[in-house]
């Protein structure tokens, strides 16, 4: 679709609100929902990958040194990664207003 979501009129919608473009859900910024964010302390991280496995958004990835970080475009700030990290390497910080 050429138009952005907030300029679509009801006439622009496909019949039955069908989405014809595959993978378009990746454009949806679930990061907008976040009120808290995870922060990694690499000195405590043992690179086990538990946070990566448990993140319900699948938004944690490894950096070039093998440490993990969240893609904040998608991270909802649910805190699951911090809860599951058994070395206590992840802390949850309040988002600033």
């Amino acid at each position: 679709m050429d138009k952005s979501e907030d300029s679509l009129t009801w006439k622009d919608l496909e019949i039955g609100c069908v989405v014809t473009e595959p993978g378009s859900a990746s454009e949806y910024k679930t990061g907008d929902w976040r009120s808290q964010r995870p922060a990694w302390d690499t000195s405590k991280c043992v690179k086990c990958g538990m946070c990566y496995i448990f993140c319900p958004e699948g938004c944690i990835h490894q950096d070039s040194e093998g440490y993990f970080e969240a893609d904040l475009y998608y991270c909802k700030g649910c805190g699951i990664c911090a809860r599951e990290c058994w070395t206590g390497a992840i802390t949850i910080l309040e988002e600033e207003e």
């Binding site: 907030d6 919608l13 496909e14 039955g16 609100c17 069908v18 989405v19 595959p22």
Partner: protein, 392 residues
């Protein structure tokens, strides 16, 4: 082969419609008083008379869910339910019009629990009033047959693509044997064109159906759906007109009986329309200026036709088979009132409720309703509505 008039139970006639329409999928859960419709369909599929997939689901919620799936891949889909079944299905009933899936459903109207009742009233229909389906009420067996046939054509019309409900009163229609002019397959030639969804679920051209809509787009989706439903009236009228031309039976959104010059009109929906004609005849013989209006098309609501039908009347007495608890009384009456509010010439509209949970309403009762309605219109009443036949 020419069509024949045969004595047939109306439920079986409705099942016959699904066979004539050559449905691909029936997903249903049996519930009184709809049972005979789906039992017959199961039989037709089992004995090879109907080449369709019959999915005997574990609940009505699953029935409608299965219908969504089959209609979404482009299969002609039929189901039927009643009362509590429609309630259990409710969540998914709302989804079908949103996805623009032209499922056809027969509802053998039944009162809602509690207390438990398997007998007829229109409470089940009113629970799904605002779900976005095209909805019509049959007044007799022939109408149940004819409207169900037309329902496939209306629902699947490329400019409509909306699910369609045909309401038939439980027991007083569903279980009654009536002489019905059945149509043969070859007579129907071309009346129900093949069903094509513009975006069917197909592996070779994947689409997403039923995605969520955040606040930025939800309103637009509802507007699009509403426009489709309101615009469906053109297609409904056209389908009924063509049906009339081809098969000799004409249907309109609002049916009048001796109503043209009558100063007092009784308005019913469903099979009571038939009973009420007897009351009208008697009062006419007595020189009273009364007539009957039967509301056939419930959604989209036929505003213009209603205004037209009552334009010469001073009093309109609306008889509802459902109670809007704690509200204005009868749901049909509320809609008639709002359709007429603001019109230059407004008749007095009086609300009656009766026939709940299968309670019989006789021609004598209708005569009393009309007389009492005229009295209320003349003298006024403190009550929003009057319930008839209730023992005090």
């Amino acid at each position: 082969m020419m069509s024949q008039r045969v004595g047939i139970e109306i439920s079986l006639a409705v099942a016959e419609v699904a066979k004539l329409a050559d449905v691909d999928v029936v997903a249903a859960y049996p519930i009184t008083p709809q049972t005979h419709i789906v039992e017959r369909l199961a039989e037709l599929v089992a004995n090879g008379e109907l080449s369709a997939e019959y999915i005997p689901v574990e609940s009505e919620h699953s029935a409608m869910s299965a219908c969504l799936g089959s209609s979404a891949v482009g299969a002609r889909t039929f189901t039927a339910t009643a009362g509590q079944g429609l309630e259990l299905m409710h969540e998914v009933v709302d989804v079908a019009p949103s996805l623009r899936l032209p499922i056809v459903m027969a509802v053998a109207n039944r009162a809602l629990s509690g207390p438990l009742s398997v007998w007829c009233d229109h409470s089940d229909a009113m629970g799904v009033r605002d779900c976005g389906w095209v909805q019509m009420f049959a007044e007799n067996g022939q109408a149940a047959f004819d409207l169900s046939l037309c329902a496939f054509r209306i629902a699947e019309d490329p400019s409509v693509l909306l699910p369609t409900m045909v309401h038939l009163d439980g027991f007083s229609l569903s279980h009654v044997i009536e002489p019905i002019s059945m149509l043969e397959k070859d007579e129907l030639e071309g009346f129900i064109p093949p069903y094509e969804h513009p975006f069917p679920l197909r592996p070779d051209k994947p689409v997403t159906m039923g995605a969520f809509a955040p606040p930025v787009i939800y309103t637009e989706t509802r507007k699009a759906q509403e426009v489709a439903l309101r615009s469906s009236k053109k297609v409904i009228l056209q389908a009924w007109k063509e049906f009339g031309h081809r098969f000799g039976r004409y249907y309109s959104p609002v049916e009048g009986y001796k109503s043209k010059e009558a100063t007092t009109l009784l308005l019913t929906m469903g099979s009571f329309g038939e009973t009420a004609t007897v009351a009208i005849d008697r009062m006419r013989d007595n020189g009273e200026s009364v007539g009957l209006i039967n509301l056939r098309l419930w959604r989209p609501f036929p505003f213009d036709e209603i205004r037209q039908a009552v334009r010469n009347a001073d009093i309109v007495i609306v008889f509802d088979r459902c109670l809007s608890s704690g509200g204005p009384g009868g749901p049909v009456c509320s809609e008639i009132r709002s359709a007429l509010y603001g019109e230059k010439k407004q008749p007095q509209v009086v609300s009656f409720i009766g026939g709940l949970g299968g309670r019989d309403v006789t021609p004598d009762d209708f005569v009393n309703v009309i007389r009492r309605g005229i009295e209320i219109a003349e003298k006024g009443s403190d009550e929003e509505y009057e319930m008839i036949g209730v023992r005090e």
